[in-house]
């Protein structure tokens, strides 16, 4: 590995995609599976506070990598998915599969956006244009406001519009169409019209080297809009089921896909047509002493933080909740958990101030005030534009979350 990196160095190419290894003082830019930092995630991690704990998505026990894991899972059993035939898929392939099912079963469905015809910049639409034709899977000119508006118009005709915004960082020109038009379409018309058949899907969140404009998690802007549904999956099985549910939902949906997980999150995914309920949180790991809530790629940092806590505080158990749908969100599930544990830590990559954790904290303090044993902790991105070289400090990584859970437990 070292020699390979040195060779790359002498060619003057510093940006090879290999797991981050510090060699001879030179940083390699990683497409790291550990979304919480661009540091390495292999066994040379004998540093505090990690002490050799296997970190990140590639080591996550939350992913169902084997058929046995799928069959064992009580959550998948509850969803009726544990006996389905499965296939190994990463999140990108799972999303591709969901769209394929929609195009195959819904005559009216079309998929469109910038560069989707050849397969998309993240390959989520690979093969779809070939299979279903360029009338149904097509490129649009470079205009997010146009893509959103066009999708609303199509949806208002009762046709299924699956629009792609190439990066969540570029969704803002479409904000007027989404907030003022899509979200209000049904209400303002007295139900004469609606834009429920619109789904806007977009890659989001940190990737290690994305900087200001390829790393944003803008869910909080949309979580403030009555009439919208906002969803963010954490894994391939979730992504496929939630996307199918979102596309079929009778409300316009903004579907955020953590791009770091496209290739790094791999599971045995049911091959058939299935949905996962929207606006329903999932308890990934039960616990008694503190409730830890997140969504998207952050779930893997939370998993590691919890492992470190349970290692360092024997007898303490943390309950991990994936919100999955950010709007309308399952406040009841979080409240039920906090009424049991008495403590809450919320984490997201988006900046802390006015981020979604603020909403959850306000709602839970109102519902669980007398039960709370410590202040609600928010572990979030810093209140700065998403930086490049400083990303490791910016991110609400496992270590920062570990410290926050500790504070909550020892208040």
């Amino acid at each position: 590995m070292l020699r390979h990196c040195v060779l790359a160095l002498t060619r003057g190419n510093m940006r090879r995609a290999c797991p981050g290894v510090v060699s001879a003082g030179v940083r390699r830019y990683s497409t790291a599976t550990d979304s919480s930092s661009s540091s390495n995630n292999n066994n040379s991690n004998n540093i505090e506070p990690i002490r050799g704990l296997p970190m990140g998505v590639s080591n996550s026990q939350l992913l169902h990598r084997t058929v046995a894991a799928v069959q064992r899972s009580s959550n998948l059993k509850t969803l009726g998915l544990s006996e389905h035939e499965t296939q190994k898929m990463n999140m990108c392939q799972a999303i591709n599969d969901a769209m394929r099912i929609v195009l195959a079963t819904d005559e009216t469905a079309v998929v469109f956006g910038e560069d989707v015809a050849f397969g998309g910049v993240f390959r989520c639409t690979v093969g779809l244009a070939d299979e279903f034709g360029r009338e149904r899977v097509f490129n649009t000119p470079l205009t997010e406001q146009g893509i959103a508006g066009f999708g609303i118009g199509l949806a208002s005709m009762g046709q299924t519009a699956v629009a792609e915004i190439q990066f969540a960082d570029y969704v803002f020109p479409a904000f007027d169409q989404i907030v003022n038009e899509a979200a209000k379409f049904r209400y303002r018309s007295g139900g004469e019209f609606n834009a429920g058949r619109l789904t806007i899907r977009t890659p989001c969140s940190a990737v290690g080297h994305g900087g200001h404009y390829h790393s944003q998690s803008p869910e909080a802007f949309f979580a403030h809009v009555p009439g919208l549904r906002v969803v963010m999956p954490r894994s391939p099985i979730q992504a496929k089921g939630l996307l199918l549910a979102a596309i079929r939902d009778q409300n316009p949906v903004v579907f955020f896909e953590p791009k770091i997980l496209y290739r790094s999150a791999v599971e045995q995914v049911p091959v058939g047509d299935y949905t996962i309920p929207l606006s329903q949180a999932e308890i990934l790991k039960p616990g008694d002493n503190v409730t830890v809530v997140g969504y998207g790629a952050q779930i893997y940092a939370l998993e590691n933080a919890i492992q470190m806590i349970e290692r360092d505080f024997p007898g303490v158990s943390c309950e991990l909740i994936d919100l999955q749908t950010i709007l309308p969100y399952d406040a009841e599930a979080v409240a039920r958990s906090v009424n049991k544990t008495g403590r809450l830590v919320v984490a997201h990559e988006a900046p802390r101030t006015q981020g979604f954790a603020a909403e959850l904290a306000a709602e839970i303090q109102e519902r669980c005030f007398l039960r709370l044993e410590s202040p609600i902790e928010r572990v979030c991105g810093l209140f700065v534009p998403h930086p490049l070289v400083f990303e490791r400090f910016y991110m609400p990584c496992a270590v920062r979350t570990y410290e926050a859970i500790k504070r909550s437990l020892t208040f």
């Binding site: 649009t140 066009f150 199509l154 005709m157 003022n180 007295g190 004469e192 409300n251």
Partner: protein
């Protein structure tokens, strides 16, 4: 040849181009209502023409009464179509199932489609019969039955939506089109550029109809754009374009008919720029004497009046008697006033409509808010004037 401009030939001349000749304005009648070229004599029946003319007079009567009503504080807001009544010609040229996306000054289209005076009033009074359930300001009409999309206040948002809906119509294969109305001011928005470009590249059967009435609130067109109106932009997008006299019902009628044929048969967009003059104030929140002289408005009204031109044309054909106007106007006023009184008496929509249809189904947080507000309203019924609203 470069992929970006396949038909461009090389030149050795260093020359900048900013305009070609101004696009001509298609006209069928002169200002006295005489058809200029007999070959363009409108092919309509007497009944159709009289119905259109009656609608122009009814629109005028309704506008006068509702404008006054706002001034008296009986409705909160209104926008009139004075000077732009010829727009009705475009609606007459369409199939009733062609989908309409409007901006806000297309009540004439709704009237021509068959929206009743009662329905207009109910929306303006936000009463329990308003199709929109009282959620939006007056003049934000919409009706699924008449294929007229609900008006929204943000300008130009309807333009890319119309392109998308048209794409859907093309896929449905029922030989219908979409028509999208907007003003010359709205055409400065990014959504105009996005919508036209998408319609052109994706082959959407949509008629883009620009009402260029010379003003965007107080901003005259010379401050809105520097090019040759909106029509010149259509060419930039590769779109079949025509400029018409927007006060000439028959020019509008003929152009819209021809545009529809292109859109539906060739699955591509068409741009019509209809030149007219906004005799109205922008809305009841505007007093245009603050930025233009009353004389300018009066002169325009006298010189080029769409209603007069149409009437003269009908009189020339022997389809209208002098004096029939007064009768029609009087009866229109009466009907408007009756509908007005009835609408004013009705209650507001039941309070649960505040919470319904935000989502397809009522989510938990709205269930809670609804329970809270209903309890508060029961506690303070006089403060909330609860008896103005229909019972649930």
């Amino acid at each position: 040849m470069f992929p970006g401009a396949l038909n461009s030939e090389y030149s050795h001349e260093l020359k900048f181009v900013s305009s070609v000749e101004s696009i001509q304005t298609y006209q069928v009648m002169d200002s006295n209502g005489s058809v200029l070229d007999p070959a363009h004599e409108p092919q309509v029946s007497k009944e159709e023409a009289k119905a259109m003319y009656r609608n122009m007079l009814t629109l005028n009567a309704m506008d006068q009464i509702l404008y006054e009503a706002q001034r008296q504080g009986r409705i909160s807001f209104y926008m009139t179509s004075f000077g732009e009544e010829a727009l009705i010609g475009s609606a007459a040229a369409l199939n009733p199932k062609d989908l309409v996306f409007g901006q806000y000054r297309e009540a004439g289209v709704l009237l021509q489609r068959g929206f009743t005076l009662e329905q207009f009033m109910n929306q303006c009074f936000s009463n329990e019969r308003d199709l929109g359930k009282g959620r939006q300001m007056p003049i934000h009409y919409g009706t699924k039955e008449l294929c007229f999309q609900t008006i929204s206040s943000p300008l130009a948002t309807q333009i890319p939506q119309a392109a998308g809906a048209a794409y859907g119509m093309r896929r449905d294969g029922n030989k219908l089109c979409t028509i999208c109305y907007f003003g010359e001011g709205a055409a400065s928005e990014g959504d105009f550029h996005a919508g036209l470009n998408m319609a052109a590249t994706l082959g959407c059967p949509v008629i883009f109809y620009c009402r260029n009435n010379g003003y965007a609130i107080s901003t005259p067109s010379i401050e809105q754009y520097r090019g040759d109106g909106i029509a010149s932009r259509g060419i930039g997008y590769g779109i079949d374009t025509i400029r018409v006299d927007g006060n000439d019902v028959w020019a509008i009628f003929a152009a819209t008919k021809a545009a529809r044929k292109i859109a539906v048969e060739q699955n591509k967009p068409v741009l019509i720029e209809a030149m007219t003059y906004r005799v109205s104030h922008h809305s009841t929140s505007d007093d245009s004497s603050a930025y233009r002289s009353k004389k300018e408005v009066e002169d325009w009204s006298k010189r080029d009046n769409p209603i007069s031109r149409m009437r003269n044309w009908m009189e020339n054909k022997g389809w209208w008697m002098k004096g029939e106007d007064a009768e029609i106007t009087k009866s229109a006023k009466t009907r408007v006033l009756e509908a007005f009184a009835a609408a004013e008496r009705l209650k507001k929509p039941a309070i649960h409509h505040l919470f319904d249809e935000v989502y397809a189904e009522l989510p938990p947080e709205l269930q809670r808010e609804k329970a809270d507000i209903e309890a508060l309203a029961r506690k303070y019924p006089d403060y909330y004037q609860v008896n103005e609203f229909a019972r649930s």
